[in-house]
């Protein structure tokens, strides 16, 4: 028997709403089991919790997450593929008191726009880049990106990435963390509730670095793409942790405030 409530029960406290205040609608076109909407919710919640509502600007790259820009109550701009860090640089320099962030996929950031993110990080722009990394060009069908890890199944190679044939993945967070002028880098994942809670902590720290103007910040969030991986939705989190999660690891790669 289904005993779920249909109306708010009497004598209770609401612990979580459906979406967040910054979502205009909870309906979205992303696939069943996609990790992106979870990462987006976490980021919007942090904007609310840090009182950055009305003081934030998001620059989206091209990819599936951009399908949600119409329903987010945040000032947003859709940039050319991979060029979000450059657009965000301009916005932040003109509006230095705003929290400026990018929302990019791995195809967008690591394949199409690698130069943009590296130069922006090296220039120590006071922005936060979010990488929703599923290791595939999800939006255009699930083909391999420069971030697909060894052995990872993609639509263009169902037997997985092979180093001899496809070369090695570019570990973008590691590269960015190695640059001077970069203040905060962390990698999280939305594979389970604990991972999502950790992701939220990293997102909050990245915005805190930005608002203290300590330097560039990047949070990579591993997200499921069962469509691109040709996996069952229910198997998505486990497959993600066996591939992307296991090869790259989760945690903070750089925290200049903690070090200082």
């Amino acid at each position: 028997m289904n005993v779920a409530a249909t109306v708010p029960p009497p004598n209770s406290v609401k612990r979580s709403p459906f979406g967040t205040k910054l979502l205009l609608s909870e309906d979205h076109p992303l696939c069943p089991g996609c990790g992106h909407p979870v990462a987006l919710r976490v980021i919007l919640e942090v904007l609310e919790e840090l009182s950055l509502v009305g003081r934030s600007v998001g620059i989206f790259g091209h990819g599936c997450s951009a399908m949600m820009i119409g329903q987010m109550d945040v000032d947003l701009n859709l940039s050319l593929h991979g060029r979000a860090p450059a657009t965000a640089t301009g916005v932040k320099r003109m509006l230095p008191d705003r929290a400026v962030f990018t929302m990019q996929g791995d195809g967008d950031m690591v394949s199409e726009g690698l130069a943009e993110v590296l130069h922006t990080a090296a220039r120590s722009e006071k922005i936060t880049c979010f990488l929703l990394n599923n290791g595939v060009f999800g939006d255009t069908g699930g083909h391999m990106t420069a971030a697909s890890v060894i052995g990872q199944r993609t639509k263009t190679d169902l037997t997985g990435r092979k180093a001899e044939e496809h070369g090695y993945p570019i570990p973008i967070s590691k590269l960015v963390a190695s640059l001077d002028g970069v203040s905060y880098v962390a990698r999280a994942s939305v594979h389970n509730a604990a991972g999502i809670t950790q992701a939220k902590r990293f997102v909050r720290k990245a915005f805190e670095h930005q608002m203290q103007r300590t330097g560039f910040s990047l949070v990579e969030i591993l997200t499921m793409c069962p469509t691109g991986w040709v996996s069952k939705t229910a198997d998505g989190p486990a497959y993600m942790m066996e591939t992307l999660g296991q090869q790259m690891g989760l945690g903070e790669l750089k925290d200049s405030l903690a070090a200082g």
């Binding site: 708010p8 029960p9 004598n11 209770s12 909870e26």
Partner: protein, 87 residues
């Protein structure tokens, strides 16, 4: 009884929005969610709640389609007469 759940919490399930991914099923620590046998208007099976929800919010955290609203039930308040007897 509009709300028969006597445990620490309950959820409202926006079942029409569910896309049937089943991520919420293993995420629920007391395992009180299971998939329906009926499909919703989108053509997907959706989760149903059995007795024993703790209001932990794990289902809400993992759901990509914002299907869960979670409530923690408060312990019953002492009645007026009991309160005045103590005073």
């Amino acid at each position: 009884m509009s709300n028969p759940v006597q445990s620490g919490g309950t959820v409202i399930i926006a079942q029409d929005r569910c896309k049937g991914c089943e991520l919420c099923i293993p995420a629920c620590p007391p395992r009180v969610l299971s998939m329906s046998t009926e499909k919703n208007a989108l053509g997907y099976y959706f989760p149903e709640l059995a007795e024993g929800c703790t209001g932990c919010t794990a289902c809400h955290l993992v759901c990509p389609d914002y299907v869960f609203e979670v409530y923690r039930l408060l312990p019953p308040q002492p009645s007026q007469s009991q309160t005045s007897a103590v005073q």
